[in-house]
């Protein structure tokens, strides 16, 4: 499709209700601090109240939002949310991801009891399972796959981890797979395969430098722990890779939709743009962009200049301090609205095909179901 220069094609609006009726998986992604969790919860609640059986998987919700959804304990399985209007026959379950526990469960599934205990107790496993840069992303995907496999829900809404970069989430499963298949792992396994002896025989001259360095830098005991960990994990490699690939394919299925969440600020939109481009490269189904915290005014016809001039006049003459103050509040709001619109326009111009829906800035934090309903209703109004 070619566009003549100078004309802007208006972006289509995002039909949220259509999405919530048809999708099987909705993945909310975006930079940290843009309201991903709230958006995911609001979408899930709306779908549930429109009659679907919904599960929302959150990563790290704000305490009060978590409480409002009954997420007071971290037990790694979905619980019914109380207070949802079930008149249309829908339901809402919610769960918070326990990263380490999800990892432990995989180990227990794929290894016999004795080996599993060995793995779980190894210091390298403890380190990897609780702080590997991609573990949270990987486990979120793993959990999504598990929830999906039960067939208990029509729709699963996933909130992605607060990654340094939103892209980590797409890469993590493959990175973990690559890591487990990597040359290093095989090198470390070599001595074990040779019967635990004759390390140097197996290693070529170049490789002996490698163990030598590791020995000096990490210490011999550490290297031994590492070797044990890797060899005990070996039996599970196939399983890990298979699962990572399966989840990745799941994300490409027709029932899956990605919703990119952002706020009208340069950094957040830059991340959102990367994500949109990346999803299209990977042929992942992008539903659209949710732009949170957009400033608006019901009376934008009263301009910043006129409001400020009137406020100054009133302050000089002393005729109305309250009116002057409200005019200043209004001026601030209109200029914020103009700024937000400008930033949003730039995004639309660069990504003309991406549906966008805007949610207004809330004057207080959202931490109950009514608040989520309001957000849901705003999301459903095509912008």
């Amino acid at each position: 499709m070619t566009r003549s220069p100078g004309t802007t094609t208006p972006s289509p609006g995002l039909d949220v209700d259509e999405l919530l009726q048809t999708a099987a998986i909705v993945v909310c992604c975006g930079a940290g601090g843009v309201g991903k969790t709230t958006t995911a919860a609001a979408l899930a609640l709306r779908a549930a109240e429109q009659g679907r059986k919904v599960c929302v998987l959150t990563i790290d919700p704000a305490r009060r939002l978590a409480q409002s959804m009954g997420l007071t304990e971290l037990d790694n399985s979905p619980r019914a949310v109380a207070g949802v209007d079930a008149a249309s026959g829908g339901s809402l379950d919610a769960m918070m991801l326990d990263m380490k526990r999800t990892f432990d469960e995989i180990v227990l599934t794929h290894a016999d009891a004795q080996r599993a205990q060995q793995i779980l107790a190894n210091p390298f496993y403890v380190s990897l399972s609780s702080s590997f840069a991609g573990t949270q992303e990987y486990m979120a995907m793993e959990k999504l796959g598990q929830l999906r496999a039960t067939g208990s829900w029509d729709l699963i809404v996933v909130d992605t981890p607060p990654s340094r970069s939103a892209l980590d989430f797409l890469d993590a499963p493959q990175r973990l797979g690559r890591f487990l298949d990597g040359r290093m792992i095989r090198l470390l396994l070599a001595p074990a395969k040779a019967g635990g002896r004759g390390v140097m025989k197996v290693f070529t001259a170049g490789l002996s430098v490698f163990t030598n360095v590791l020995n000096r830098v990490l210490g011999a005991q550490t290297l031994k722990d590492l070797g044990l960990f890797v060899s005990s994990l070996e039996t599970m490699f196939g399983g890990f890779r298979e699962r990572a690939d399966k989840t990745y394919r799941l994300l490409k299925e027709p029932g899956t939709a990605f919703v990119v969440v952002a706020v009208p600020e340069r950094d957040a939109l830059r991340e959102a743009a990367y994500f949109v481009d990346r999803l299209s490269e990977e042929h992942m189904p992008l539903a659209g962009l949710v732009l949170n915290r957009v400033h608006r005014s019901a009376i934008e016809s009263l301009s910043v200049q006129r409001s400020l001039a009137a406020a100054e006049h009133l302050e000089e003459t002393g005729e109305g301090a309250l009116a002057a103050a409200t005019l200043r509040i209004h001026a601030e709001r209109v200029s914020a609205a103009a700024r937000d619109r400008h930033v949003a326009e730039r995004f639309r111009a660069a990504h003309p095909g991406v549906p966008v829906v805007q949610v207004g800035a809330q004057s207080t934090d959202v931490h109950d179901l009514d608040g989520l309903r309001r957000i849901g209703a705003e999301l459903a109004v095509a912008s």
């Binding site: 930079a31 940290g32 601090g33 790290d60 704000a62 305490r63 009060r64 210091p123 390298f124 380190s127 990897l128 702080s131 590997f132 840069a133 607060p162 340094r164 970069s165 890591f179 990597g182 040359r183 290093m184 792992i185 090198l187 490789l207 430098v209 490698f210 360095v213 590791l214 000096r216 830098v217 990490l218 210490g219 005991q221 550490t222 590492l226 706020v263 005014s297 019901a298 009376i299 009137a310 406020a311 006049h313 009133l314 003459t317 005729e319 109305g320 309250l322 009116a323 103050a325 409200t326 005019l327 200043r328 509040i329 209004h330 601030e332 709001r333 700024r339 004057s363 207080t364 934090d365």
Partner: protein, 331 residues
């Protein structure tokens, strides 16, 4: 007078979206004022410093990114920047301590470094903090530029205690050996009076909660908590009495109506109602911010406030913010 005269290493953390990198940049500029040499470092591979100072991506090399006003000495202050990546830090470390430059590149080819820093994130953090420590403790003799202060744009609040508490992270993996020794000396610096960890937040529920949790975790890890920098603060525009009333949903619309008429604006009902509604929203926002500010005060740490900048943050804004940090005594 600075609230942190003994501090040489300033660690800046904050929740995503609170402007931690901006505050770190402003702090570096403030510290450089009066002719001092300051190093600003980042460890997350985001190239946030380069974007902020509008320079090409930073290599693993100390580059000058800004100058600060000259002091009595007549010498201008300078801010250098360094993006630390664990791979380069490991190779440098092997080179310095073991004279293993060639081994370093062999390991790189094998993917060993990627492997080591992946399987043991604690080791990665030791390398990152180790490099920061090296810059902060350089002495007259030996290589490298000498700095009066080092600012670290650190990982976010949720991970900061874990990132800095390298000893605990490495202890389980390496009970002895050079990595452990390195972790110990990093820990000595981090726990000393020469280090302060400043937390950046905005006046919203989640960032404030994370700040409170972060202070608790840092304290438990015996890491020195510095100041709380409250960023993007908005001015309350309503007089106190009207603010309290508006927060309760009460706005004197007759008075607004009179005022609009006096100012020669169309005092339609729609306009009056919309202005009242905006005043109510403004007031509830301000009250919420006041509550969050009060919870932060309970931490008993020095607090510094920076205004919300209406335009995109550029270099001139950084100088303005640096000035505010100095005025309030952080520097």
């Amino acid at each position: 007078m600075s609230d942190f005269p003994s501090v040489k290493l300033h660690v800046v953390t904050g929740k995503g979206g609170t402007g931690k990198t901006t505050v770190a940049g402003a702090l570096a500029l403030a510290l450089a004022a009066g002719g001092r040499q300051v190093l600003l470092t980042e460890v997350e591979g985001r190239q946030g410093i380069a974007q902020m100072f509008d320079t090409p991506p930073l290599p693993y090399e100390e580059r000058r990114v800004a100058v600060a006003p000259a002091g009595y000495s007549g010498r201008g202050g300078e801010v250098y920047a360094l993006a630390i990546d664990p791979e380069a830090a490991l190779i440098e470390y092997l080179e310095i301590f073991y004279n293993l430059k060639r081994a370093g590149s062999a390991l790189k080819k094998l993917g060993a470094i990627d492997f080591a820093t992946t399987i043991a994130p604690g080791v990665r953090d030791v390398l990152l903090t180790g490099k920061v420590m090296e810059a902060a403790t350089r002495e007259r003799r030996g290589g490298g530029r000498l700095y009066d202060a080092v600012v670290l744009d650190a990982p976010p609040t949720g991970r900061i205690a874990r990132f800095l508490n390298v000893n605990a992270e490495v202890a389980g993996l390496a009970r002895m050996g050079p990595v452990r020794q390195q972790a110990d000396s990093v820990m000595n610096l981090l726990r000393s009076r020469r280090t302060a960890v400043h937390l950046v937040t905005v006046l919203e529920e989640m960032p404030v909660q994370e700040t409170i949790d972060g202070v608790k975790e840092l304290t438990n890890a015996e890491l020195p908590v510095g100041g709380i920098v409250v960023n993007m603060v908005r001015q309350p525009l309503l007089p106190q009495e009207a603010l309290t009333a508006a927060a309760a949903g009460k706005v004197d619309s007759a008075e607004i109506d009179r005022g609009l008429k006096a100012a020669g604006l169309d005092n339609t009902r729609k306009l009056v109602e919309a202005l009242s509604a905006e005043a109510v929203e403004h007031a509830s926002r301000v009250m919420l911010e006041e509550r969050e500010r009060a919870s932060l005060r309970e931490l008993g740490r020095p607090m510094y406030e920076l205004p919300l900048l209406t335009d995109a943050v550029d270099l001139s804004c950084l100088y303005e913010l640096a000035g505010k940090l100095s005025e309030q005594g952080l520097v």
